[in-house]
């Protein structure tokens, strides 16, 4: 399947990346080229094969349900583009 300009714009929007029309147009052949190439995987017979979940058999560990860090608010906010009154600040989201 090949993707068109509209699909590229939709993917960009889902990816939260703004693109100009010219950028989107340039991406159409690029992405089609790559997607056309990976589509060869469709020819592999995977009947009865489970998808890989872990390369090395390894159990997910459980730990005690206790706080292991915290009290680092200022560190968490230290690199924020905009922090106010101990919070991350963003543009207004309520219409």
């Amino acid at each position: 399947m090949s993707i068109d300009l509209q699909t590229v714009k939709k993917i960009a929007s889902l990816s939260r990346i703004s693109v100009t029309d010219a950028e989107a147009e340039a991406m159409v052949p690029e992405l089609n080229n790559i997607l056309g190439w990976v589509e060869q995987l469709g020819e592999v017979d995977v009947t009865g094969v489970d998808p890989m979940t872990a390369v090395i058999p390894n159990k997910l560990r459980l730990r005690d349900d206790v706080v292991t860090d915290g009290d680092v608010r200022d560190k968490v906010l230290a690199n924020a583009p905009q922090a106010e009154h101990g919070f991350f600040a963003v543009p207004k989201v309520i219409e």
């Binding site: 590229v8 889902l14 990816s15 990976v38 060869q40 995987l41 390894n58 963003v90």
Partner: protein, 494 residues
Amino acid sequence: MTDLTDLTVAEIRDGFRAGDFSAREVAEAFNANVASAKALNAFIVETPEKALAAADAADKAKAAGEALKPLSGVPIGMKDLFCTEGVQTTAASHMLEGFKPTYESTVSKKLWDAGAGMLGKLNLDQFAMGSSNETSYFGNVISPWRRGGGDNAALAPGGSSGGSSAAIAARLCPAATGTDTGGSIRQPAAFTGISGIKPTYGRCSRWGIVAFASSLDQAGPMARTVRDNAILLETMAGFDPRDSTSLDLPVPQWEANLSSDLKGKTVGIPREYRPDGLNAEIAALWDRGIEWLKDAGAQVVEVSLPHTKYALPTYYIIAPAEASSNLARYDGVRYGQRELPDGAGLQDMYAATRAAGFGPEVKRRIMIGTYVLSAGFYDAYYTQAQKVRTLIARDFEQAFEKCDLLLTPTAPSASFALGEKQADPLAMYLNDIFTVPASLAGLPAMAVPGGLDSQGLPLGLQIIGKALDEQGVLNAGLAIEERAGFTARPEKWW
């Protein structure tokens, strides 16, 4: 007097202990080389004061007769993908320009705790996405190597750990950290005539490393000798409860157990790694490598890894899929850059921030990842790729019933000129053809230099081992290193 910057990690460690030189002399010598090599653009941030502080601590401890640490007196370079407390960490992106972590990555902390000093943060492909170091926001890294015959074309140091490989080959640091998702330690090592090992997935903690594709990302060392790689890996590896896929296993004594005697070992030669049209000089080096391993006592057998040709397309579904998810965190809210056009709402801010913060290759991979994970396409692309990944891992399991190690070339060509492959993303992806399969299977794999091609550029051999058998990989690497006698180094022009 010997130039201190020509010494290996082992020689620096041992010479410092023996009192042949002070740690400060070593740090000053490397700081001077770093300062005079701007033309290579290997470093994004230089931290001479950190190298000197660690050196002074080592000298002081030695003068006081205190016990020395494993890497006391050894300065190293740190790939700028590892978070370093208080020192800018960018992943070579505009997105993270100015980001100063308030914490230290596990791997870098282990190295500093072991006495190593930091010379600086090394340049790389943006978010570790690239094979030539041409995607860095901070400019291309230039390989110290040049083709012979007066050809001064700027060559690629490989990628993504290209700052690391260039800096080591140019004697700006004796060793450095790298990370490897599909070949990002091994391919740059091969391009610059040095060694590097990607350990088994889970050996080194991923905590504090800027994430690219979490099921593939592994840290590892890069250095000029196999022994130096063993020394560094011992410090970098180990269980970390803060990484959910960290292996809870003791760290072997890889350096103490190094042995180039391969008697009783069987080395497999995968026939699918010799495609029609394989570069003749690389094929010839591979044949020499086979002879070297036989000379070291190994048996050699041909093996088959039938799904090899599907490894790259599998990788280019899985890695972008994981990247699109991991890089969703760059939203302009919590850290990094923010673009806020006049009157923009929250969604507009996200889209503008990410458009300005990411380079073209990063955007391309995020969008491919978003597409293959989107409703209606998930099973056709992502699930299928994960199933093929199972088959690729199974290929290795079956091959390892007949052999202990695999020997292959590291990359399909020697280093190429910057700009040569940039126009076609697919041509660039093909560079990882020999390194990606071991990444998909989580296996330890190492690049060691084998010789020079007719243009005078280094070529590397790759050893792939069974899961957790870093020792076997290092030992075979040592056997090749001893027989290849690779002493070539780039002539200084920078």
